[in-house]
Symmetry: C3
Amino acid sequence: MEDIKIGIITSSDRASSGIYKDVSGPAIEEYFKNRLVNHISFEYILIPDEQSEIENALIKLSDEHQCCLICTTGGTGPALRDVTPEATESVCEKMLPGFGESMRFESLKFVPTAILSRQTAGIRGKCLIINLPGKPKAIAECLDAVIDAIPYSIDLIEGPYLEFREVFGPAFRPGKKKK
Amino acid sequence: MEDIKIGIITSSDRASSGIYKDVSGPAIEEYFKNRLVNHISFEYILIPDEQSEIENALIKLSDEHQCCLICTTGGTGPALRDVTPEATESVCEKMLPGFGESMRFESLKFVPTAILSRQTAGIRGKCLIINLPGKPKAIAECLDAVIDAIPYSIDLIEGPYLEFREVFGPAFRPGKKKK
Amino acid sequence: MEDIKIGIITSSDRASSGIYKDVSGPAIEEYFKNRLVNHISFEYILIPDEQSEIENALIKLSDEHQCCLICTTGGTGPALRDVTPEATESVCEKMLPGFGESMRFESLKFVPTAILSRQTAGIRGKCLIINLPGKPKAIAECLDAVIDAIPYSIDLIEGPYLEFREVFGPAFRPGKKKK
């Protein structure tokens, strides 16, 4: 069983200036601790909604810290200060539009405003980057919509071998036997 | 209750040269009059399928006329003269892919050729721009797929406060009480 | 009844170097022979996962051979060598995002990793280009999701008139009588 590193980036003007406490970052950490049997080191960065700061955080966590997965939270809406998808696209070599589609489609079951989310996902080197919404309740909904594709995705980019806890059943890997 | 301005751009070589009468523009006007309780001034532009003319019309209606919403009709297909999505993307600061996804998904219930539509949506300043199909029947189908997200979207870009007529129930605004 | 030309491009490092036999290309040929009543000439190119080679093959089949439709197979995933969508986008004048959305949505009924596919479609001149997955089983699933929109799409770009075999019913053409 491999140890893995997951990066979490909370981009929020208000949380980063101390106006409120970030609860979205911890919600992501909780989700993966609960789901994966691998030992996980979390790298956590809290920044304002500045595109260049988000880009630098993504590069640091993927290149320096060698996270196999980075989840961002916040900054995916239509407002002027929402720039997380732009930062993601600018540092990724490949975009994976299916993640955004599936997360919006799932969120639409809960709120009609799900179509306003511009969240996406992409690949930088051996790191999968996924944008999650800012609202803690929506984080688990969105991760549930894509979690079954994450381990195989990380296999394909030659990252570590992620395994689900037994209660969730084995992670889906097409045409492969479980290790 | 705020008065609002909505722009309507019909891009059609044939309608703009008088070969037939534009019925799509009036269908959009009818839809919003029926749905919103706000008093609405409509700004209406009829042009041929030329990218630069569509761009100029979008800029004029958003920047000069300060429309909070512009709906285009026509020019979203795969044909050579279909250039409305390109014009939209070139004047918007942010794209909202969820609108196109949801409108195509809804239209697919009626016609299998819905996947040919390249319609999208985006933000320019304080204006939400939405591409609608050219066929009048499909306009209401597509607007029905996204209308519940429009008022909150315009809140987020600091536009006016849109309200639905009572028969439709209050417009959805996550985490906010009705004004 | 018009004769038509369909191009098939298999991009696969392993199949093109002879490590295994390409079965995806023949699966596409089989699908269209079975579905269309038109006489079809197939142009078939097998190449490694190199973006420039895929681009050259797309240009050759659309411009020189005047295929009305090209289907690629392979190279749509998140791995480093998967570059077919990039090659497609770089030679197309217009992208048709609805094809990728619909194919992913359909594939999701079979495997949760469908969201990893970056497959798309676009128009180059009078040629419709569609990316299909590399796995033969997934090819028919994806084509089934979009086949009903293909004849009308080729009408709109002024290509030949495609007709389905009687068992499939007439191809959908909105507002048009069957020829």
